[in-house]
């Protein structure tokens, strides 16, 4: 059994692939290790055998056959290749035409969506009293009640943008809204099926 850590170096040594210093180190090891020395001898034997097995020259006809086939193909490219070349060219032409049609029929650029329009600001008029301790109502259901307004009371004009509403709303009403802890803002979008409800509750922080 040879030494595993030396095997690779012995294999390189057998083929003359080591530098002087490395080869000297392997030689020292081989002189002390019979197993690795046997491995080196085997490796040299197999290498010599491999070279001998592959040394047999190939017949001249083999070379001539290759040359003949190459020159024949250069003189007359196989039809198969020509057909494939035409097939590729046709496929590319079809693909290019398809791309052209798609580009030509491309619709005009989609306009950017309109900004949401303010429809109403509904203050909460009455906030329900907090549930008694031990009530089985969930926090979520309590919050939902808190957000419900008694009646929608549009404050801004339909079509106003959100950024301009503070300046447009009546100052008295605006103050009333500000006093309410829960408010709802209804915003309309360009899509009539999409309406944005913005519910928020002020915590009494100073502005």
């Amino acid at each position: 059994m040879s030494c595993a850590i030396w095997e690779e170096r012995v294999a390189l040594f057998a083929g003359g692939d080591l530098g002087t210093a490395e080869a000297a180190a392997v030689e020292r090891h081989l002189s002390a290790c019979a197993a690795c020395s046997a491995l080196a001898a085997d490796l040299r034997l197999e290498l010599d055998g491999l070279r001998a097995a592959h040394a047999e020259p190939l017949a001249a006809e083999r070379y001539a056959a290759v040359r003949g086939r190459v020159l024949a193909e250069l003189a007359n490219p196989p039809r198969r290749r020509v057909v494939w070349a035409w097939a590729w060219a046709a496929a590319l032409a079809v693909a290019a035409a398809a791309v052209l049609v798609v580009v030509m029929r491309k619709p005009a650029a989609i306009p950017p969506p309109e900004p949401p329009r303010l429809v109403a600001i509904v203050p909460k008029v009455e906030r329900p009293a907090p549930p008694e301790r031990g009530s089985n109502r969930s926090l979520r259901s309590r919050k939902r009640i808190g957000w419900q307004a008694e009646a929608p009371a549009p404050l801004g004009k339909v079509g106003q943008t959100l950024s301009s509403v503070n300046q447009q709303v009546d100052p008295v009403l605006s103050r009333a809204v500000e006093d309410s802890p829960v408010r709802m803002v209804q915003l309309a979008t360009a899509d009539p099926n999409v309406v944005i409800y913005w519910l928020f509750e002020e915590k009494g922080e100073e502005r």
Partner: protein, 194 residues
């Protein structure tokens, strides 16, 4: 030890830096291209034979190599034609083998070798030669290529690395593993026969 430069001199006798046949072939001279093939056909067919393991596949590979040579004449660096041919031969053989894997697992290779053993050959050199030829089949593609170029074609480790686009360290590792596997294969086969 033969080097690529020596291979080039053996191939044509003319310094590759001033290769008139190559220049003429570039200009479209088919006779010059035929001469170019004659110069390098041994390198190409022999290497392909060693990599592919049979002459029919090796001839197909050689044909493809020379067709690629013709198509790339204008782009070739004349100083490295032998290295280019080795690289393309290896690539063509690898492509062919990927379409039809030729690597045989060690156990299968031993079975094949045992099955192919003729009673008359058992103790003879012919059997040993056949065994060694078969041993290349159970190496991985990269190990076989490194072994063929280094030990059978006689290129230096650096030249093998250059032809394969690899590092010297990688080639050394592949060569040493390949040698150990060949030796292991022969040893196991010999043990089985006893």
């Amino acid at each position: 030890m033969k080097t690529l430069a020596l291979a080039a001199v053996e191939a044509g006798g003319e310094p590759e830096g001033r290769d008139s046949a190559l220049e003429a072939a570039r200009a479209g001279d088919r006779t010059a291209f035929d001469l170019l093939m004659r110069r390098h056909e041994r390198l190409v067919l022999r290497t392909a034979h060693r990599l592919a393991g049979n002459l029919e596949d090796a001839q197909d590979a050689s044909q493809e190599v020379f067709l690629r040579l013709y198509r790339n004449l204008a782009k070739l660096d004349t100083g490295n034609l032998a290295a280019w041919l080795y690289r393309v031969t290896v690539n063509v053989c690898h492509d062919a083998q990927r379409r039809r894997p030729a690597t045989v697992p060690m156990e299968d290779a031993l079975e094949l070798a045992a099955a192919g053993g003729d009673p008359q050959q058992c103790a003879g050199e012919a059997e040993r030669r056949a065994l060694l030829l078969r041993s290349l089949r159970m190496l991985s593609e990269k190990e076989r290529t490194a072994l063929v170029l280094r030990d059978l074609e006689g290129l230096s480790t650096a030249e093998v690395a250059g032809a394969l686009g690899s590092s010297v360290g990688t080639v050394r590792s592949q060569v040493s593993k390949a040698r150990l596997k060949v030796r292991d294969f022969v040893e196991r086969y010999s043990r089985r026969r006893l």
